[in-house]
C-alpha cells in the first residue's frame, strides 16, 4: 500500500504515488534547470508538461487510477533525460543567436565556492575562496593569520566558513570550483540577469494577456497568473535576499568584532551616546565593579560569548549560506549551537540573579560633617575646582567608566570613585550651619547594605567662609557597586545667607525655595533662609521670580579667590 498525492499537471488532476511524484518533480526541476537560461524556458516547460500529462493520462483508467513509479519511469524514458537532449539543444543553438549559446556555457561553467582539499593547510577555506576570486591564497592566509590575533575574530570566522563551505569532493565539483571567473562584472551580470528575467516575464505576461490565444485556455491562464506572481516574488526575494544577506554578514561581523573587542580588549567604544561622550569601557573593569566576589569575571565572558556570540555567528552563517546558495543544514552544528546558547542564557540568568540578590535590601546612614561657622552672615558654597579634572586625565583612563554624567573611577585597586553627590539645602533648627551626609547603599541584607553605606567616604574642605565640596565620593572596591549614593544636606539657620557658585550647578539637586527657581537658575546668587524657606536676594533679572527685599544685605558679595 502506498500513499498518493493529488497533482495538477497542465490543468489535469492526477493521483500519484509519493515516490513517483518525487521522481517526476525532480525530473521536471532538472529540465527546468537545464533550460533555465533559455528565453523560451516557460513555453518549453509548458509544452513538455502537457505532453507528460497526456502520456500519464493514457496510463490511468477506471481500474487503475493512480500514477505509479513505473509509469513515471516510462514517461521519462520516452521523453529523455536532460542530458540526452543536451547535445541536441546546443546543436540547435549553433544556428541561433550567439548570445543564447554563451548563456548556456555560462550556466554550465559558473563558478562555485568549495573548500579545496588539494591545497589545504587547515580546512582549505582560504585556497577555496582564493580560487573563487582568482588570487593567490597566501594573501588570504596571511590576513586570516593576522586576524586570529584580533580578539580571535579570524578564528571564529574561519570556523564558520569551514562549516558552511562544502568541500570539493568530486571531479565535477573541483571543476566547478575553477569554473568561469567570478568578478564584480559577473556578479553584476548575475544580478542584472535576474532583473532582466523579471522584466521579460512582465512583458511576456502582458503579451499573453493581450492576445486572444489566451482566452482559449482560461483554465491554464489562471495558473499562469498565479505562477507569474510567485515568480515575481521569488525573483524579488532573490535580489533583495542577496542584498539582505550581504547586510546580514556585514552587521554580524561588525557586532561580533565589537563583542569580542569588548570582552578581550580594553579600548574605547563610542556608541549610543552623544558626540564627545565616550563610553570608555573595558569589560573586566566593569565586572570588577559589578560582579560579586564569588563569581569570576571569566564566567561573564563565557556567558556573553555563548549568549550573544552564537546568535551573531548564526547570523553570519545564514547570510553566507544564502549568499552563496548553500543548501542543507548540519544538524549536529545546529543542535550544539542551540544547546550552547541555552547554556549561555543560563549563565547570564544565574549572574543576573546573583547580582540581583545584592540589591535586595536598602539602608541609609547619616553622618555629620564638621564645619566651622562663617565669620559673617554668608556661607559661600563651591565645588573643588580640580576634582573634575581628576576624572578627565589625571588617572589612567583604562580604569574609568564614564557614562554621560555618571562616572566610575578606580582610584587604585582598593577604592572606586563615583560622581556626583547630590546637594540640597534645608532650614536649620538651631543657629548653626550644619552639613549632613546621607549615605545609602543596597545589600543582600540590611546589615550588609548599612555596612556598604558606612563605607562611603566623603570630605569637604573649608577655607574661612567658603566650603569646597568634592565632586566625588569613594567606595571600597570590595563593596562593589551596589547603588551607593551620597546626598549632602546643608542646614542653614534663619536669616543666614548662602551663595551658590557656578560650579555648584553640577551637584545641586531640587533645592526648595520660596521663589520657585529652578536649580540651574540658583547659581551665582545669594539666598537667605527665612521662616518661609530659602529666598533669593538678587534675582531681579530673572523671569517668574517674585522679589523679596525685606532684609537689607550689605554690599553684593564677590566670589572669593579659590585656592589652587
Amino acid at each position: 500500500m502506498n500513499r498518493t498525492i493529488t497533482m495538477n499537471l497542465s490543468g489535469i488532476i492526477f493521483h500519484i504515488e509519493e515516490d513517483a511524484y518525487d521522481k517526476l518533480n525532480k525530473y521536471l526541476a532538472a529540465i527546468r534547470g537545464y533550460f533555465s537560461n533559455s528565453e523560451s524556458k516557460d513555453e518549453i516547460m509548458t509544452d513538455i508538461e502537457s505532453r507528460i500529462a497526456e502520456m500519464l493520462q493514457s496510463k490511468v483508467s477506471q481500474t487503475k487510477q493512480a500514477v505509479l513509479m513505473a509509469d513515471v519511469e516510462s514517461v521519462i524514458a520516452v521523453m529523455g533525460k536532460p542530458e540526452d537532449f543536451a547535445e541536441e539543444n546546443s546543436q540547435g543553438n549553433n544556428n541561433e543567436s550567439p548570445r543564447a549559446e554563451t548563456q548556456y556555457q555560462y550556466s554550465g561553467k559558473r563558478r562555485r565556492v568549495f573548500r579545496d582539499p588539494d591545497e589545504k593547510i587547515l580546512g582549505g577555506v582560504c585556497s577555496g575562496i582564493a580560487n573563487y576570486f582568482d588570487f593567490d591564497p597566501i594573501y588570504l592566509r596571511g590576513a586570516f593569520a593576522v586576524s586570529f590575533f584580533v580578539f580571535g575574530t579570524g578564528f571564529l570566522l574561519y570556523i564558520i566558513l569551514w562549516m558552511i563551505i562544502p568541500e570539493a569532493k568530486t571531479t565535477a565539483e573541483k571543476l566547478e570550483m575553477r569554473g568561469e571567473k567570478v568578478d564584480i562584472n559577473n556578479i553584476g551580470k548575475a544580478v542584472s540577469e535576474e532583473f532582466d528575467d523579471l522584466k521579460k516575464r512582465v512583458n511576456n505576461w502582458e503579451q499573453k494577456v493581450n492576445t486572444n490565444e489566451n482566452k482559449e485556455r482560461v483554465k491554464s491562464s489562471a495558473q499562469r497568473v498565479g505562477g507569474f506572481i510567485t515568480d515575481v516574488f521569488e525573483n524579488l526575494f532573490k535580489v533583495f535576499g542577496k542584498i539582505f544577506s550581504i547586510l546580514l554578514i556585514m552587521v554580524g561581523v561588525a557586532l561580533l568584532v565589537g563583542l569580542l573587542a569588548t570582552l578581550f580588549g580594553s579600548g574605547t567604544i563610542s556608541a549610543f551616546s552623544a558626540p564627545g561622550d565616550t563610553i570608555r569601557f573595558s569589560l573586566y573593569e566593569f565586572t570588577d565593579v559589578i560582579l560579586p566576589e564569588s563569581l569570576s569575571p571569566q564566567l561573564i565572558v563565557i556567558g556573553l560569548i555563548l549568549f550573544l556570540g552564537i546568535p551573531l555567528s548564526s547570523m553570519i552563517y545564514s547570510g553566507i549560506k544564502y549568499l552563496f546558495g548553500f543548501k542543507g543544514q548540519n544538524k549536529i552544528v545546529k543542535y550544539t549551537a542551540n544547546v550552547l546558547w541555552l547554556l549561555g542564557l543560563g549563565i547570564m540568568i544565574y549572574i543576573g540573579i546573583e547580582i540581583g540578590n545584592d540589591f535586595a535590601e536598602h539602608a541609609t546612614t547619616k553622618q555629620n560633617i564638621t564645619i566651622t561657622q562663617p565669620q559673617g552672615q554668608i556661607m559661600y558654597l563651591d565645588l573643588k575646582p580640580n576634582t573634575e579634572e581628576d576624572f578627565e586625565d589625571k588617572h589612567n583612563y583604562r580604569r574609568k567608566i564614564h557614562l554621560g554624567d555618571w562616572y566610575i573611577l578606580s582610584k587604585d585597586d582598593q577604592r572606586f570613585r563615583l560622581a556626583y553627590p547630590s546637594f540640597t539645602v534645608v532650614a536649620s533648627d538651631n543657629n548653626n550651619f550644619e552639613l549632613v551626609a546621607v549615605k545609602s547603599a543596597e545589600g543582600f541584607d540590611k546589615k550588609e547594605a548599612a555596612y556598604r553605606a558606612k563605607n562611603i567616604e566623603y570630605s569637604v574642605t573649608q577655607i574661612d567662609s567658603t566650603i569646597l565640596f568634592n565632586s566625588y565620593y569613594d567606595i571600597q572596591a570590595a563593596d562593589k557597586l551596589r547603588g551607593q549614593e551620597l546626598k549632602l544636606i546643608l542646614k542653614v539657620p534663619l536669616n543666614k545667607v548662602i551663595f551658590l557658585s557656578k560650579r555648584m550647578e553640577k551637584i545641586i539637586y531640587d533645592i526648595d525655595n520660596v521663589n520657585d527657581t529652578y536649580d540651574g537658575d540658583m547659581i551665582n546668587r545669594r539666598w537667605i533662609m527665612t521662616t518661609r524657606g530659602l529666598e533669593c536676594l538678587d534675582c531681579q533679572g530673572l523671569e517668574n521670580v517674585t522679589k523679596h527685599d525685606t532684609i537689607i544685605i550689605p554690599a553684593a558679595p564677590t566670589v572669593p579667590a579659590l585656592p589652587k
Binding site: G11, I31, S40, I44, I48, Q57, K81, N89, G92
Partner: protein, 108 residues
C-alpha cells in the same frame, strides 16, 4: 573520435529540415511529429523536439493553434508560415545539392 557522436551530429543537422518537411504537407501536433521521426529513427527521445519547435516558432518559421483534446490537455497544432515555406524551399535545394555532392564524392 566517437563514432556515435559523429552519427548523432549528422542526424541533428537535418532535424530542422525534417520537421519543416513533415509540417509542409499538413499541420501536426508534437506527438505526431515525434511518431514520424521515430519511424525514421531520426530522434530517440521526445524531449529533444520541444525546444526545437519553440525555436522554429520564435524564428517565425512555424505558427500554431490550440485544439482541445479528449485524452489530455489541449494540443498545439503546428503548421508552416509563408516564411517557413520559403525557408523549406531553400533547404530542399541545399539538401539536393548536398546529396548529389556527397554521392559524387563517396562513390568515386
Amino acid at each position: 573520435m566517437n563514432i556515435e557522436n559523429t552519427k548523432a551530429q549528422m542526424k541533428k543537422g537535418v532535424l530542422e529540415f525534417c520537421i519543416l518537411s513533415i509540417l509542409s504537407k499538413t499541420e501536426h501536433y508534437p506527438s505526431e511529429i515525434i511518431e514520424k521521426m521515430k519511424e525514421a529513427k531520426l530522434i530517440v527521445v521526445e524531449g529533444t523536439l520541444y525546444p526545437l519547435l519553440t525555436r522554429l516558432k520564435n524564428d517565425g518559421l512555424l505558427s500554431y493553434r490550440w485544439e482541445e483534446s479528449t485524452s489530455g490537455p489541449p494540443r498545439k497544432y503546428y503548421k508552416l508560415t509563408p516564411v517557413g515555406e520559403q525557408f523549406l524551399k531553400e533547404l530542399n535545394i541545399t539538401w539536393n545539392e548536398l546529396v548529389e555532392a556527397v554521392n559524387k564524392t563517396t562513390q568515386n
